[in-house]
């Protein structure tokens, strides 16, 4: 398909706008980098992973700056949330398309859209007041990795459901009609045709949701307990990198402040790696 002159003009406009998006990323990386340079210079990269603990001070010689426990915390909470929210969200989207009566599916979608708009503070508050005491009865102290995973799951679920829903809608009708003609049952159709045909959309949905889970701040601060330690069980409190920034930024000065920006940069590094790996996997899957 060749482009007409009119198309070409629009194409360039689109490119320009898209380029702006990429530019924002560059600005943010640059900003984080500039802010964290003092910490990288005076503390040094290895101390962020080798120090005894996270007890930062404005003066780098007296504090200790180990971020690895929080790195583990972030990964654990995100992974946990995605393990639950991914399948649940996709199943909920399937529910909307293949199992629910039309009216119920309509209501269900409106509900999920509403869920997407509940402020993270409200989730966090609910987690702190309602969820944490329930977990404390099972295993003290209550605010923990487990509470964090539950809250994060609820928060990223709308993203997964709505985007998977859109991706499933994406499948050409004839596929499903063809499956019906072959006499495939509903679930086999879903398993062998729907999921496969919408694979790319579903993985995009999960990627976006993962990003959301990694970046969530306020709710996590309230329910995770915020101890910077590597958790031994689901019921141990953890601190995520974002929680670390939110908790301490308001009171941090000097190298402490700068090292908080470094943790932001670190987070960005993880996200970039994740994105690149998933793209690699995707392109390999396409080649197969």
């Amino acid at each position: 398909m060749s482009l007409s002159p009119l198309d070409k003009r629009w194409f360039w406009l689109c490119r320009f706008f898209a380029f702006t998006c990429a530019l924002i990323i560059c600005f943010i990386i640059l900003f984080l980098f500039v802010e964290s340079i003092p910490a990288i210079q005076s503390i040094g990269l290895e101390r962020f992973f080798n120090d005894s603990s996270w007890h930062p001070t404005p003066d780098p010689s007296t504090g200790s700056f180990n971020l690895s426990a929080m790195l583990v915390g972030t990964l654990a909470a995100t992974l946990g949330a995605i393990i639950f929210a991914g399948p649940l969200g996709i199943l909920a989207a399937i529910f909307c398309h293949f199992y629910a009566p039309k009216q119920i599916a309509y209501l269900f979608r409106r509900m999920i859209e509403l869920l997407a708009g509940i402020p993270s503070v409200v989730f966090g508050f609910w987690g702190l007041v309602t969820l944490a005491p329930i977990i404390r009865n099972l295993a003290p102290p209550g605010p923990s990795l487990c509470a964090g995973i539950i809250i994060l799951t609820m928060m990223i679920l709308p993203t997964v459901v709505l985007l998977s829903d859109a991706a499933i809608k994406n499948i050409p009708k004839k596929y499903i009609e063809g499956a019906a003609a072959l006499g495939l049952s509903r679930w086999s159709t879903i398993k062998s045709i729907v999921i496969r045909a919408s694979k790319e959309g579903l993985s995009n949905a999960i990627m976006l949701a993962t990003g959301r889970a990694i970046g969530e701040t306020m709710a996590v601060v309230m329910v995770c307990g915020n101890i910077a330690q590597i958790p031994n069980s689901l019921f141990d409190p953890i601190r995520t990198l974002t929680a670390n920034i939110a908790l301490e930024l308001g009171y941090a000065t000097g190298q402490h402040r700068s090292s908080l920006f470094f943790s932001g940069l670190l987070l960005l590094g993880i996200i970039t790696m994740m994105v690149l790996i998933s793209e690699k996997l995707k392109s390999e899957a396409i080649r197969d």
Binding site: V129, P140, P237
Partner: protein
């Protein structure tokens, strides 16, 4: 005091703006004070922004804000370039759940709890329950105050949970019968008066009340301060004078802090 230039101010038709940034603890109070100030001075707008004490101090230092708010005292370095003006006083007390039978506690016992040497309330004559030790976020003024008081390093403290903002700490204690946390006396007293199931522990047998903080008897307290550059403008000084005057005592009390004029 401000009378002489008051007429001069009113002749200016343009609206003057003051930017105040800093401590989230002090911001709601200062916001109320600013509203009252605006009522008496219709051509002045005061914009309050939060973001934490260090933000307030930094912004005041580099001129982004006219006034910075801080809930910690200035360090020596900061004092060289900045001026501070006390707005109010606030105590820091230890809180436990209402159902916890412990009535009093010694400093030694508190120190042992926070350094992980005492782990069960039974050891202090209470119920047989593991203590949930709640620490506050690193860098908050309460932390350095308590660490100084017990002469420990923040890294020596063995905590089970860490609370950020005050309300988070309150909720954690109110939901956990075996928890202990430290926080603002004003906030704690207010919560007790609302029926939240918490109890303030006396320190050195002095009950933690705003009254005792005002009298200066209570051993743990911190100031809420305004931070300005060394030569604040007329408008800034005027607002600070207003905020330090008895005209705002009811607001300070309303936010459960202790005003400096009642001392």
């Amino acid at each position: 005091m401000g009378c002489s230039d008051k007429t001069g101010m009113q002749e200016q038709p343009s609206i003057q703006r003051l930017i105040v940034t800093g401590s989230s603890t002090a911001a709601p109070l200062v916001s109320d004070i600013a509203k009252r100030f605006e009522q008496s001075q219709p051509d002045i707008r005061i914009d309050i922004q939060t973001g934490g004490s260090s933000r307030g101090i930094t912004d005041a230092g580099n001129g982004l804000a006219d006034i910075g708010l801080s809930s910690r005292a200035l360090t020596l370095n900061e004092k060289e370039i900045l001026q501070c003006h006390t707005l109010a006083q606030d105590g820091v007390c230890f809180l436990i759940h209402k159902n916890n039978p412990i009535q009093k506690i010694t400093n030694k016992q508190l120190k042992n709890i926070y350094t992980g040497k005492t782990t069960n309330w039974k050891q202090l004559g209470g119920l047989d329950k593991e203590i949930t030790v709640i620490q506050r976020a690193q860098g908050r003024s309460e932390v350095s105050l308590v660490c100084q008081y017990f002469d420990v390093k923040p890294s020596d403290i063995k905590a089970d949970l860490i609370a950020g903002e005050n309300q988070q700490g309150i909720k954690m204690v109110a939901n956990d019968e075996s928890a202990i946390v430290y926080m603002s006396v004003g906030t704690s007293e207010y919560e007790v008066s609302r029926g939240t199931p918490i109890k303030l522990l006396p320190l050195k047998s002095i009950p933690a009340t705003a009254e005792n903080v005002a009298k200066g008897d209570y051993p743990l307290s911190r100031p809420l301060i305004f931070v300005t550059q060394s030569h604040p403008s007329q408008l800034v000084s005027k607002f600070i004078e207003f905020a330090q005057s008895p005209q705002v005592n009811d607001l300070i009390k309303d936010h459960s802090f202790v005003s400096i004029t009642t001392r």
